[in-house]
Amino acid sequence: MPPTEHELRLRERLGRLRNLPLLGGARLSGDLDRLQRQIDRIGEEATDEEIWRKVELARHDERPYTLDYVERLLTDWFELHGDRALGDDGAMIAGLGKLDDRTIVLIGQQKGRDIHERAGRRFGMPNPEGYRKAIHAMELAERHGFPIVTLVDTPGAYPGVIAEQHGQGAAIAASQATMARLTVPTVACVIGEGGSGGAIAIALADRVLMQENAIYSVISPEGCAAILWRDAGEAKKAAAAFRPDAIHCLELGVIDEVVPEPVGGAHIDHDMAARLLGEALRNALSELEGIPGDDLRRRRRARFRSLGVFA
């Protein structure tokens, strides 16, 4: 049987991954083999257990969070605080830093490590203030021509009474609209949970990457199970039905590239995970460098406008 168009697309993407200079090392080529196996398996059905394993890894307590990557990848980091109107949301990080010798703006959700920090950062679920902080940082980047990197890691936007009173839906829409207007290069990477509107709010980017064990979905497996199966306990079935894993997202054209993780998952070796992510980010930014801003914006919009399946 001749390869389908979709298989060809995957092979081409895998080819691009192979060319990453960092993927030459013995350990990393092991990762590449694993990725190859994952891609080969697309024809077969991934088991419910395998998909659920990704969900668990994406939510792993010791998985590196946005600030862990900031610490390892950026120098001269300066965190920006506040949305200039209402408050400062700990669930959303924004700041300036140097990636090699170029200044970038980095934006990302931040879960907490211990229980106090988790409560303070609402487990990485931003309020509207968080999205408006992100917008503020994006506009700053646009004024100064700084590329933007966003790291997506959230169960979703915070579902609270005050969040609604402060316009949660409109804030998420405004953040995406701001990204759709930018003329600076933008790269998004899902590094853990890419939960619904709270995630896409900062992921309307020129290049969308996803770590190997991250998940990206329209609703949490538990939420989907509660609505469609009327039982949140059926989360495993729900996850298997909508497949939030990176390979599936690559297959649908929702992401451009899968970023490899250390064997066993990013939580096993934060430094290695950061090196791999850094390589992918540098690579994506270099690809975008030199493309005129108007072209970037036009292509970005065209890319997102092409997503969907209908007859």
């Binding site: 579902p159 839906g169 759709a180 497949r243």
Partner: protein
């Protein structure tokens, strides 16, 4: 101290009145079909706004005979082979038979009091007005159509959010419709949004809140997260008007609440203000 369970002593309680689509849930007045149609599905006693179907909405807004529907042939596919308690394809067929619509949005050109515009109207009766690939594509095409012909786009929303059965592609309809709105804006055209009950989740977090002017129907629920989810997760006591149009007006998120009978003249006034072509 032993607790005494009194929860079983409810035999004498009257059962709640049976709900009927033509019975007002707020004051229990009951109407014949033709009475509701005559009143634009607004309760004559208490002003409750019943759900209004997309075709009825278009008939109530557009000048007679002016509506020319576009993209009628678009149908949803089943990219995931999604199966919960029933297959997605079965749900689609059932929704189509029930509503007579191919999906949850109808688009086309129309005139309102003589002013030309593009209409994009959602129908909550089709799978809860959920936004999947077809809704995203139709809205996107409506933006292009408005930009090309140089007329404003009027959208009437009613949606529970993104369509879970299309998985991540449903989420991608948020950036898709937003990119389309930005293209519309760059062409210099106007977007007028009318949010009806309910406009929640992914539709609220995308094109519904990006209009140049934002209108809502009385008492419409307009929250990103539904009241049940907020209650369950936060255990907070919800205000009576949680997420309702009135609260949204008070907090500054919309421009006006417009009762249904006033919607047509209000939109006509806005179309004149934004210089929509005759």
């Amino acid at each position: 101290m032993a607790k005494i369970d009194v929860s079983v002593e409810t035999d004498d309680q009257p059962s709640p009145p049976p709900s009927h689509p033509n019975t007002c849930p707020s004051c229990h007045s009951h109407y014949r079909d033709d009475e509701l149609e005559e009143s634009l599905w607004v309760c004559g006693q208490c002003g409750h706004h019943f759900p209004m179907r997309a075709r009825a909405r278009i008939a109530s807004l557009a000048d007679p005979g002016s509506f020319a529907e576009e993209a009628t042939d678009l149908h949803s596919e089943d990219p995931l082979g999604f199966f919960d308690l029933r297959p997605y394809t079965e749900r689609l067929v059932e929704a189509e038979m029930k509503t007579g619509l191919a999906d949850a949005m109808v688009i086309g050109r129309a005139a309102i009091e003589g002013r030309q515009c593009e209409l994009a109207v959602m129908d909550f009766a089709f799978m809860g007005g959920s936004m999947g690939s077809v809704v995203g594509e139709k809205f996107s095409r409506a933006c292009d159509s408005a930009a090309e012909t140089g007329m404003p786009l009027v959208t009437v929303t009613g949606s529970g959010g993104a369509r879970m059965q299309e998985g991540i592609l449903a989420l991608m309809q948020l950036p898709k419709t937003i990119a389309a709105v930005e293209d519309l804006r760059d062409s210099g055209q106007t977007l007028l949004c009318v949010m009806t009950h309910p406009t929640t989740g992914g539709v609220l977090a995308s094109f519904a809140t990006l209009g140049d002017v934002l209108l809502a129907e009385p008492n419409a629920l307009m929250s990103f997260a539904g009241p049940r989810v907020v209650q369950e997760i936060t255990r907070e006591k919800l205000p009576d008007d949680f997420g309702r149009a009135e609260q949204n007006l008070r907090y500054g998120h919309i421009d006006a609440i417009v009762p249904r009978p006033e919607l047509r003249p209000t939109l006509a006034r806005l179309l004149r203000l934004f210089d929509a072509p005759d």
